[in-house]
């Protein structure tokens, strides 16, 4: 079969004598037999380390968990700085987590979480940080400062952590370039290999924000007093 790969120096096609294998093994075959300069990430090979996500025919997938097919075009994740060929920089994620306090800031060691507490954040903590969601988010097309889906899901995971004494600061930190900038298109949920919906997490974070007195800044630009005003009569 034939696959095309967007390398740093241009699009290259390779004929590979493989069947019934995953994209990652096809990349490894190419590297060992056809083009040793090809660069890509190879990690756990079992969809848990998140390092091998690439765009296949315009959609982000884990190379280790996706069957290779004739005619595929493989390229690096969108909205990421490309280091070489299919390798992108993910280091910015640490800055995102730092500036949104996506961690346990002030742990209440005396609080014991219940099964219900754990279940509330169980799915969000399944995130493998593959960045697939980030690479399909349309908001990043217009606003590169948007925190993006996976960072907001991680904020959710700690903002709903019962051991966190300071949940409010996390909510404060995601108001700007955060939850209200999301269009709720749901593309992030479609591509997530772990079945996480950042969109749903963002909706929950909006509700939590509202209970803390925040509102959608786009609505407040109307002056906050639209609608029927009985005192006018």
């Amino acid at each position: 079969m034939k696959v095309s790969i967007q390398k740093s120096e241009g699009l290259k096609s390779y004929d590979i004598p493989l069947e019934d294998t995953v994209v990652l093994e096809a990349l490894q075959y190419i590297k060992e037999n056809l083009d040793t300069s090809l660069c890509f990430q190879r990690g756990c090979k079992s969809e848990i380390c998140g390092c091998c996500a690439v765009m296949v025919d315009g959609k982000p997938v884990l190379a280790c968990g996706t069957k290779v097919a004739d005619g595929m075009t493989i390229q690096a994740l969108s909205y990421h700085e490309i280091k070489r060929d299919l390798i992108v920089s993910k280091e910015f994620s640490k800055d995102l987590f730092h500036k949104t306090q996506a961690y346990l800031e002030r742990c209440d060691e005396t609080t014991l979480s219940s099964k219900t507490d754990e279940k509330r954040i169980e799915l969000q903590s399944d995130c493998i940080l593959c960045h697939s969601c980030y690479s399909v988010c349309p908001v990043l097309e217009v606003n590169r400062d948007f925190l993006g889906p996976f960072a907001l899901t991680k904020v959710f995971r700690y903002a709903y952590e019962v051991k966190e004494k300071d949940q409010k600061t996390k909510i404060d930190l995601i108001q700007h370039n955060g939850i209200w900038d999301c269009t709720l298109c749901g593309e992030c949920a479609v591509v997530c290999p772990q079945g996480i919906s950042s969109k749903d997490d963002i909706i929950q974070l909006r509700i939590k924000s509202a209970t803390l007195g925040y509102s959608d800044p786009k609505l407040s630009s109307f002056g906050g007093d639209f609608g029927f005003d009985p005192s006018g009569f």
Partner: protein, 529 residues
């Protein structure tokens, strides 16, 4: 000049880094991998800890561990670890690890192989992932410097400090870092059996080889654990928790041939014997409550679907044993210090002598976190003048030579040959004839290495160069493992010699390997009581 360099980015490296920060040490974490991507995330089953004495006890945990180690362990180290397990779980929980809970809020615990009680705390079957992420998140909070994509080349022990040289993968430059102390947390070497291992392919013990060359002793290298249940096509792990939950193992005739919950070494050998005799082997979990499986083993169900093409809720899973964990490694004392002052080792790259000849499921995550924190407690700030010398010259020369070398031998092909021979002749069953054959092969490959160049001459992100450096380490370590296996004339735990099938009392001792002037030497220690 740092107080401490930690090399690696897995659960042990990050646990050590957090402890170092707490002690106000000037610490840097340097890894060949990117953050969040280390092999720790692949641990599924759980982490052992006796949390209450209602049914279980710390003494039983200690007894199970010693028994599984086949008496080749340091009892005091095991006692220390098992006693510290409860506090380790609480510490992890306070770092944000979302352990699975029962309705009453207590930690859920499950039974893994060869355990007398259900004592493995877990987070569904994402235990390693959730531990690694919570520790990484905590390191970000503590603003610990984590340098990514630096491949360790050499360690240069000095009287006052350690100099370490790295290949900066992103630029191709050789760079040097200096610190009063260095902790190696670089992982194990199960991928010297590449293609027959459940590990990342780059887990070939590169850090261990750098340590060996710097004069550090290694020990018990011959003990490599083959996990009984990995997927037939891909060697991907299916955790012991599947058997703990009631999964059964049988062949194509539905004949059960082994007690599924025996120690890993025994189950692996029995499965491998079936496969060698032409049978197929399956793990069957279809009879277990599906809701329970979907809640507690979601990853394993997905892996069987994707990589074996079957629905494990309805069909048995085809399995085989694969190299999974290496008990041996850098020889350390009870402070995790190697024989070279200022060089410490933790996690799978170290031999803390708690796993002995066969690791008990659920003890690896415990070991890596518990001893990492304990290790750093022995490291203190130092003052006084330090003269730093440039140590990059030799490593730069080695890298330049590789770039200048003409590629006459394709190391990718040799690598595959090496891995196959290692599995066949230094794998689950071994004997003198096979070991001598594979030793001769490795010797020939070592001689050929000067002809193994690279085609890619780019400096930035030259992953062919990194793979060649890793292959060279894989050869060095394979050589040492074979020598160690040849010299242990008995069978014990994971080391099974067909020509010496019994445990022999005179070999109840650790085997130390050290290198001098490029030659390996083996010494057996005192007989353990």
């Amino acid at each position: 000049m740092y107080d401490l360099i930690i090399i690696g980015s897995g659960a042990s490296a990050l646990s050590a880094a957090l402890e170092a920060k707490k002690q106000n040490l000037d610490v840097v974490v340097i890894s060949k991998l990117r953050s969040f991507e280390s092999g720790s995330c692949m641990a599924q089953g759980g982490i052992n800890a006796v949390l209450n004495d209602k049914n279980d006890s710390v003494e039983k945990h200690i007894t199970d561990t010693i028994k599984s180690a086949h008496d080749l362990a340091d009892v005091q180290m095991i006692e220390s670890m098992c006693k510290g397990a409860k506090e380790t779980i609480e510490w992890l929980s306070n770092k944000g690890v979302g352990f699975s809970k029962e309705e009453d809020g207590t930690f859920s615990q499950r039974k893994l192989g060869a355990a007398s009680h259900s004592r493995a705390c877990y987070a569904q079957d994402f235990s390693g992932l959730k531990i690694l992420q919570a520790l990484s998140d905590s390191c970000i909070k503590e603003e610990i410097v984590m340098l990514e994509e630096y491949f360790l080349l050499s360690l240069y022990p000095q009287k006052t400090h350690i100099s370490a040289t790295f290949l900066d993968i992103s630029s191709g430059e050789v760079v040097q870092f200096d610190a009063r102390n260095t902790i190696l947390a670089t992982g194990g070497y199960a991928s010297i059996y590449r293609g027959f291992s459940s590990n990342r392919d780059d887990s070939v013990g590169s850090g261990i080889v750098s340590a060996l060359k710097a004069g550090v002793n290694l020990s018990d290298l011959e003990f490599v654990q083959f996990h009984p249940t990995t997927l037939k096509k891909s060697s991907i792990l299916i955790s012991e928790s599947a058997r703990g939950a009631g999964g059964i193992i049988y062949n194509q005739n539905k004949e059960r041939f082994v007690d599924e919950l025996l120690m890993r070494d025994i189950v692996s050998r029995e499965i491998f014997k079936q496969i060698q005799s032409g049978n197929e082997v399956f793990l069957d979990i279809t009879h277990i409550d599906h809701e329970f499986l979907e809640e507690n083993l979601p990853q394993e169900i997905k892996l069987a679907r994707v990589y074996e093409g079957i629905n494990p809720l309805l069909e048995p899973i085809p399995i085989k044993p694969s190299a999974h964990y290496t008990m041996g490694g850098i020889d350390v004392d009870n402070k995790m210090q190697s024989c070279v002052e200022r060089i410490y080792a933790i996690g799978e790259c170290a031999n803390a002598k708690v796993h002995g000849a066969n690791r008990l499921g659920g003890n690896s995550l415990l070991e890596v976190v518990y001893f990492a924190r304990k290790c750093v407690k022995n490291i203190h700030k130092e003052s006084g003048d330090v003269a730093i010398e440039d140590k990059t010259v030799e490593d730069k020369r080695v890298i330049e030579n590789i770039f200048a070398q003409k590629k006459r031998v394709d190391f990718y092909q040799v690598r595959q040959k090496l891995a196959c021979e290692m599995f066949e002749k230094c794998g689950i069953f071994r004997d003198e004839k096979g070991l001598k054959e594979v030793l001769a092969s490795v010797q020939m490959m070592k001689e050929e290495i000067s002809h193994m160049g690279i085609d890619d001459k780019s400096r930035a992100y030259n992953t062919e160069l990194v793979e060649l450096l890793e292959f060279s380490n894989m050869l060095e370590l394979s050589y040492a493992v074979i020598c160690a296996a040849l010299l242990r004339l008995e069978s014990r735990g994971a080391h099974f010699r067909e020509d010496f099938p019994q445990e022999r009392a005179q070999y109840q001792k650790h085997q130390i390997i050290h290198q001098k002037n490029g030659i390996l030497y083996s010494t057996f220690g005192e007989i353990l009581s």
